[in-house]
Structure formats: C-alpha cells, structure tokens
C-alpha cells in the first residue's frame, strides 16, 4: 500500500467526520488529475469540467462514510467521476457513440466506420496519429487515459468503469489495433494521395 494511499485514506476518514480541511487537502491532491481526465471526457468544455469537479467533490463529501477501503481512494474517486460523466452524457445527449448505462458486460464491437471504410478511402483521408485518437470512441479513449495518464492498473480501471477486466482488455486491444492501423497507413502512404496521382 503506497504512502499516498494511506494519506488519502486518512483524509477521507476525516472527511467522513465532517472535516472540511481534509476535503480541501483531497481536493488539492486530486484536482489536477481529475481535471485532465474530465477535460478529455467532456470534450474540452471548461465550464462543464469545472461543474463536474464540483459535483465530484460534493459527492465525495456526501459519501465519504461509505468508503470501505476495498479499493484505493484514487480508484474510488475516479469511479465517482466516471458515473457522473455518464450521467451528464445521458442528460445532455451530446455524444454519438453508444454508452453503456447499466454497467453490463456487453461485448465491444469495432468502430463501425473503421470496418466499413475501404483501404482507398483511408488513404485519401490522410489520417494522422492524432486523428487516430480523435476517431476512438469515448469509452476506448477513457480506458487509454485511465491507464496511460492516470496510472491505474487493469483491475483498477475495471473497478472504475464497473466492467470486467476482460472488457477493459478488449477496449485496450481495440485502441491498439486502431493505432496500429493508422501507423501502418502512415508507413505505406507518406505522401498525400492527390500528389501521388499527379506524379503517376
């Protein structure tokens, strides 16, 4: 158990006892990470991110006594953030991708646009690696973010998203394939297609 987790667990216990200063310390400790996470989950909407941060810590304040120590405090707080993001998306209906609402273990299917696009269409499209990120669904992007940016393990990500570890692996695998595909296109087609056709 890391010293950070022990310190956070101590603070959370104080929050459960009504200690506002302990909440302030938790807020200071987690705000940078949560802000980064929420920024990407909420499409870079500053106002929405700030509102969501407030909602997350209001929820921490209200439910601190419910924390039983079965997960790290960081995992617990990110669970709250994840649920609130899903709730916000349902309320606003601003995302095109289907979002699991009941935490059920649905199988992830490949992104339909990736499957239906022909090789020639992809070449014409001139996608970059950055575009590969933009073309990932929110749930695939979220898994990447939680692992590579927030430092959670496979099991912790599964706890946060309330899905089996197999589903997390599946989403990571899809993201990996997506990047591998785009990277291969870059290697095969270093020039814009229009320029190659003029040269031919």
């Amino acid at each position: 158990m890391t010293s950070d987790h022990v310190a956070h667990a101590t603070l959370l216990a104080l929050v459960a006892a009504g200690d506002e200063d302990a909440l302030r310390q938790l807020y200071a400790a987690f705000r940078p990470r949560l802000r980064r996470y929420l920024w990407h989950q909420l499409g870079g909407d500053t106002l929405a991110v700030e509102e969501m941060l407030q909602d997350v810590f209001l929820a921490v304040w209200r439910t601190a006594s419910a924390y039983r120590g079965e997960a790290k405090v960081a995992t617990w707080i990110f669970q709250i953030a994840h649920y609130l993001v899903i709730h916000a998306r349902h309320r606003q209906s601003r995302y095109a991708d289907a979002v699991s609402t009941d935490g059920s273990d649905e199988e992830d299917t490949p992104h339909p646009s990736w499957q239906s696009v022909s090789h020639e269409d992809e070449v014409i499209d001139r996608l970059t690696l950055a575009d590969a990120l933009a073309h990932l669904s929110t749930k695939h992007r979220e898994v990447l973010d939680l692992v590579s940016r927030q430092g959670f393990s496979l099991e912790e990500v599964a706890q946060i998203l309330d899905v089996p570890t197999g589903t997390v692996k599946s989403r990571l695998s899809y993201a990996h394939l997506s990047y591998a595909h785009k990277a291969l296109l870059r290697e095969l087609c270093p020039q814009p297609v229009e320029e190659r056709r003029r040269d031919a």
Binding site: R31, G44, W61, E70, A183
Partner: protein, 554 residues
C-alpha cells in the same frame, strides 16, 4: 535466473511498460523479451504512438487558474455535516443541525451498493437525528472555539477542542531575558512560541534560541537539540498539528562591540545563516534546505503537513556605493522536501515582507521605490500588482493574510509628504477576488503609524498590529502607545485595555473563545533614559475581557 516472459505476457503489459508504470523487475522482464522479439517490438510501436498523442492532447489543456476560487465556491456549497467533538468530559456529541442530502444519482461505487448498507444508512440517519436533538446546547458552547481555531494567514491549525485554561491556571515559567518573537497555537491548551534568550537587539549577552511549549496551561522552555543553539535566534513558528511543526530563525554573527558610557559592552549582531527546525516524534531537529541560506527568514506559512512556504531574506548588498540590492529566496515544502521557487520580480531594490499561503497558491507583499508590491503564485504562474495598488497611494506593505483568494488583507503604511513634513499612516488593503480597496480605519490621533503584523483568524476576526510614532526610540522618549486594530463586525476598531507599559503589539493568536495570546514589547529606558532606551518583549494574555502581561520578560 528470471523466468522469461511469453509474448502474451509481454503484450498484456506493453501499455504500462511504455508509460513507465511497471516495477523495475517487471520492466526488466519486458525489456529482455523485447530485445529478442521483433513481433512484440512491432506491437509496442502503436503504444508509443498512443503515449505521444495522449501527451500532446494533455499539453493542449490550458493551465489551471481556477483552483483556489473553485475551492471557495465548493466550500460554500458543502452541505452541513455532523461534527463529532470531544467535550472536556470525553463525551462525544454531534453539533450540527442539518442532515446531509442524498445525491440524486446513486454514485456510490460498486463496493458500497448493497442492500444492508442502505438499511444501515437509514438507521444511522435516525440515530443521528436523535443525537442532534440532544446536543444543540453543546454547540452553543463549543462552536466559537472551532471558529477561533481556524483561519488561513494565521498559524492556528487546531482540530481538537479541549477546554481552555482558566485565567488563574495560565502561567509562563520562562527564563529571565526571554525574548519571544512568534507564537503558534494548536489548540486552546497546546501551543508553541519561539525567540531567544537574551534579546539580540539589547546586545549585552550572547543570544541563544528559545522554544517554549504551552502544556497543562503553562509555558515552559524545551531543551531539544533545536533549542539553545548559541549565537542564534528563532523568529517564526508554524505548527501543523500537535505532533508536527516548523520553526525558523538564523544564526548571528558578531560584527561589532560598542562601549557604553557606563562601561558596559554592547554587542552588535548581524544575521548569518538560516536555521530550519522540524518538530516530529516529540523533538525539534535542525534540517537543511536548498538555495541561498544566507540571511534570515522573513515569513513562514505551513498549510498542511505536506505543504508550506518559507521566504528568506538573503540580505542587502551593493552593486555600487549608492545602490542597494536586496535578495530573497522563496522555498516551497511539498511531500517531504523543500525546493526553490523562482520569483518574477525584476527590481533589485524591492523589499518583500509578508507571505501567506493556501494549498493552491502563495501570496507575498512588500514595496519598492515605485510603491507597494503584491504577488501571488498559482498554477505555476505569478500575478503581480505594483505601485499605488489603490488610488493614489504610496504604500509600503509589511504583512499579508487571507482566508481565501477572495478574502485577502495586506497591511503596512501609506507615505505622504506635505508642508509639515513626511507622514506615514497605517494602511489596510483588502482584496475580494477582483480588486483591491482601502479599508476605513479609526482615527488613530497619531503623527505616524504603521501596521506590521496581521493575524487572520476568520473572515470577521482579523488583528493588525504595529507602531505609532515609531521614532520614539531615536527621540529618546516614551512611545505614544501600542497600535492594535481588530476587524470585527465588518469594521476596524482600536483594541482597548492594553496595559499602559505596552508600547507595541505584534502577533495575536486565538487560544479559545474570547481568549487570546499576544506578543508585545514594553519601553524600557536605560539608566533612567540617559543611555537611551530599549524594547523588551512581553507575552500578553487576554482573558475575561482584559489584557494582562503573562510573562514580564526581564
């Protein structure tokens, strides 16, 4: 011999390997496998791309400038929670009225969403309501203690609420020639004060550090390694809990001996090296810090056991005989280590005086040839005000305090000149989140006045102390009186009832409801005034509506 990883094992870990989240042993496993497996190397390349693009995406996030104000907003929205407190009989009582609201969405993590937990929570709420109904009277008694023991910009960080000492119990068993410079209260019955034995300003005996502890209603000196450092004094103390705190000061270097008319030798001391003491495990121990440690500490503020700030005055030097250059070092304590934070100030003639901090930012104030200086450091960036700050003032600022970044006080004096000469007038500025304004002060009836120290105990409980007619020492006459102002009920008023001998008041801290400790000084003529005068430090106590000198230092 380490067992080799299979391709399946390797590929499962690649993302964590690329983002450097594996243990050293795991990394070595993966590295050994990748060194000989071209297929897994190809698998790793997309993860490197993922890491790069996610990194780029993070860099597109604008800096976080709203942390402190967002916390203030959040704090104001927090629904009331039961506060469990110990009464002096050891009973536990709930002291708040409101029942926490249940969230609209069941956002409790999976490990808590069980039927029995819901039933237990309902029972808990019922019991809570009954306890609240029985404990309203207790809150009326103990609530003000909680208010007085919190506040940013002061040194109080109390969490427990023991019964305060009765006035007849308070004692100060300090050595002769004790000279206290700062005080920090953990609770009504637990506090620390620092200074020196033998006032360096008096110069007749070699000073050494003094640390005093309030325990069982009595101030007594401690004899840790950090105390009794010869040729040194301590000037600030900040406790974060009853078991941890920091004290700072400096060693002193003798640079001159002056013979007095009466044959006595007066030593002249100058600040030499910074001393930083850390109180843990019941002991004050000296620790080293980075950066330029020449000079003396200017200000210390700890926001928690993992966060604090220290401003060091590295002294004055001259680039030429006519130009003084003042240097400062700002140190930040985070997660067990001190580090240097560069400051943005360009003018070498500035003087920085005050510092106060929260978990999100640090504020400084001071002055230079152009006027006042106020700056805060937040999210890795500095923001500054300079010059007149407000209207057409010529401020010199000496201290700063706050409860949040929308409730900041900066104090000092305003300089003006007219046909009758130079004037300095006590000055208080307030920042409510968007602009600075000048506070209205009572008429002090003083030719000169200046505020030097501030204690912000709560938004409506602020103390500012300083001097009136500061030239009385040089003019070899008694001072006009101490300058102590109290902000309460939305306005500033003079503190009345100070003992007549007290010439100045500095630090004020709350011990309990309507009980304060303060450090001050009394005017002491030397040889009936023939050899001038000096100021002797005193410890003051305010109880039962009256001030008294608790420790009449020799």
């Amino acid at each position: 011999m380490m067992p080799e990883y299979t391709c399946a094992q390797c590929r499962e870990c690649l993302l964590w390997y690329v983002t450097e989240q594996l243990t050293p042993a795991e990394r070595e496993h993966i590295a050994r496998h990748l060194a000989t497996c071209a297929a897994c190397q190809r698998e790793a390349r997309p993860w490197h791309a993922v890491d790069t693009t996610l990194d780029d995406a993070d860099h597109a996030i604008p800096p976080d400038m709203a942390a402190a104000s967002a916390w203030s907003t959040l704090k104001a929205r927090l629904p009331k929670r039961p506060i469990i407190a110990e009464t002096h009989h050891g009973e536990r009582a709930l002291m708040e009225h409101n029942i926490p609201n249940e969230p609209e969405l069941d956002i409790r993590p999976r490990d808590t969403r069980h039927g029995p937990a819901r039933r237990r929570s309902l029972v808990a709420v019922t019991v809570f309501v009954l306890l609240v109904a029985l404990s309203v009277a207790l809150f009326d008694v103990l609530g003000p203690q909680l208010r007085h023991n919190r506040g940013i910009g002061s040194h109080t960080t109390a969490t427990a609420t023991p019964a305060p000492c009765a006035p007849s119990q308070l004692k100060a068993a300090l050595p002769a020639n004790s000279y206290l410079q700062d005080i920090s209260m953990v609770s009504a019955t637990d506090g620390w004060a620092v200074g020196a034995i033998n006032n360096p300003s008096e110069g007749t005996a070699t000073p050494k550090t003094l640390i005093a502890h309030l325990h069982n209603c009595q101030w007594t000196p401690v004899s840790d390694a950090g105390a009794s450092i010869a040729s040194a004094q301590l000037t600030q103390v900040a406790m974060v809990s009853s078991t941890e705190g920091w004290a700072v000061g400096s060693t002193l270097k003798l640079f001159d001996n002056i013979s007095q008319a009466n044959g006595a030798i007066t030593h002249q001391w100058m600040y030499d090296k910074l001393i930083v003491l850390h109180y843990t495990n019941g002991q004050w121990q000296q620790v080293s810090v980075p950066g330029n440690t020449s000079g003396q500490p200017q200000a210390l503020h700890m926001t928690s056991s993992n966060d604090g700030w220290l401003l060091v005055d590295n002294g004055k030097s001259h680039t030429d005989p006519y130009t003084a250059y003042y240097a400062y070092t700002l140190l930040h304590y985070q997660s067990g280590a001190w580090s240097v934070v560069p400051m943005p100030f360009k003018t070498p003639t500035m003087i920085l005086s005050g510092l106060v901090a929260t978990s999100f930012d640090v504020w400084l104030d001071g002055y230079d040839g152009l006027g006042g200086i106020i700056a805060y450091y937040q999210g890795g960036q500095w923001h500054t005000w300079g010059g007149s700050i407000v209207g057409k003032l010529s401020p010199a600022l000496y201290a700063i305090g706050m409860t949040s970044d929308s409730d900041v006080w900066a104090i000092g004096s305003n300089y003006s000149h007219d046909a009758s000469g130079d004037h300095t007038e006590a000055l208080v500025l307030h920042y409510e989140g968007s602009q600075w304004t000048r506070a209205v002060l009572p008429d002090l009836h003083a030719q000169q006045s200046s505020l030097m120290r501030i204690s912000v105990l709560a938004p409506d409980d602020v103390w500012a102390c300083g001097d009136m007619d500061a030239s009385y020492i040089q003019a070899n006459r008694p001072p006009q009186g101490p300058l102590a102002l109290h902000y309460i009920g939305g306005k500033w008023q003079e503190v009345s009832g100070l003992p007549p001998a007290v010439a100045s008041i500095s630090q004020v801290v709350a011990a309990a409801h309507e009980q304060y400790w303060a450090l001050g000084a009394i005017y002491v003529p030397i040889n009936g005034g023939k050899d001038g005068a000096t100021m002797r430090g005193v410890l003051l106590s305010y109880t039962n509506g009256a001030w008294s000198i608790a420790s009449g230092q020799a």
